[in-house]
Amino acid sequence: MSIIPVQIVECASQTAVDAALHTDLKPADLLDAEAEWGPIRLKAAADRLRTKAPTDDLPQHSHWDWARKASALQYLANTVFGIQKDGKWQGLAMTTTVGHLASLQPDAGKPLVYIKYIESAPWNLRAFTKTPVYGAIGTRLLEAAARQSLDENFHGRLGLHSLPNPKTEGFYRRSGMVRVGIDANVEGLPYYEFTQAAAQGFLKGGQA
């Protein structure tokens, strides 16, 4: 297993802390994470009901029982990244290098890395807790996927379908991703893409 030291942000102190990026997990590891994350999501939803707090900002995938998707996941040939800290998965992402091509010029039609799945642990999300534990999890996972694109000689080209959440879309835009448009072939989800130049700007730490 390839493990790379990275830093993430501890929210309470607003300081960078050491963590580990695992780069060759198996799709089944998503299920292990779900076994830990799922009950926390359910409890958060139940707590909101008890306090009559709104539930409409919970992530749309919070109803998704991953454990029941095990058989489907086994057929997906993917790379899975995970960030580990305190012995727990803080966030996971799954990418593929087949089946998706760039749509933005100057590289339209060329291969890219496509992010199929990206998620942070519920204790790191404001939707589930007022005091998230760690931040920049999505940033690190997005960075890992963009670096995978460099390794594949795709020059940073990267694509993903975001669920239509304004905050999430804002994060991708501020990272330099371009909203290509609504993809009617994928449930009407907005499709975002990194061009070579935008990805390399993101990786170098420049302002998007």
Partner: protein, 158 residues
């Protein structure tokens, strides 16, 4: 990984602030695995509630999976996949027929299946509460029966 991860703390803190612990989304895998976002505001845990409702209501009415499938003119495999939560984007016809056999409001069941927009906050809350109940057992417990009956009332009111 051939290139080094960015080790600038200034960059990391800035990106963390931009990300602001927002959900990152599941994205394209939802489509690949047959899960689609609903047209309107999402009902949290609706898919879980749908699979549990179909199974518990069937058992409450003393029906087998085969009887439910036959009565609804759909495949046994489809009933199983709905109850197991494997098929989360059933066809409108399937949901309409299931509602008839299970004696539930087809409008409400369509809402639960994500086929039409939900505008009722009370129903949305009831869905989350029902979905968050314990897993179904072989025989309905007193608590499960009460939870089912409470939720089913929404299907009579619609």
């Amino acid at each position: 990984m051939k290139t080094k991860m960015n080790n600038s703390q200034e960059w990391l803190l800035r990106k963390a602030a931009e990300e602001d612990n927002c959900p990152l989304s599941v994205g394209g895998l939802t489509h690949e695995l047959g899960v689609r976002p609903v047209a309107g505001p999402p009902v949290p845990l609706a898919a879980t509630a749908l699979s549990k409702l179909v199974e518990l209501r069937r058992r409450e009415l003393g029906m087998s999976v085969e009887q439910l499938a036959e009565g609804s003119k759909i495949d046994v495999a489809e009933v199983v996949s709905i109850e197991e939560g494997i098929r989360l984007n059933p066809e409108p016809r399937t949901i309409y027929n299931l509602a008839g056999t299970l004696r539930l409001s087809s409008k409400r069941l369509m809402e639960l299946a994500g086929l039409v927009e939900v505008r009722d906050e009370k129903f949305s809350r009831a869905t989350v509460k029902f979905a968050a109940q314990s897993e179904p057992m072989e025989k309905l417990t007193k608590e499960e029966r009460e939870a089912l009956q409470e939720f089913v009332r929404f299907f009579a009111e619609a």
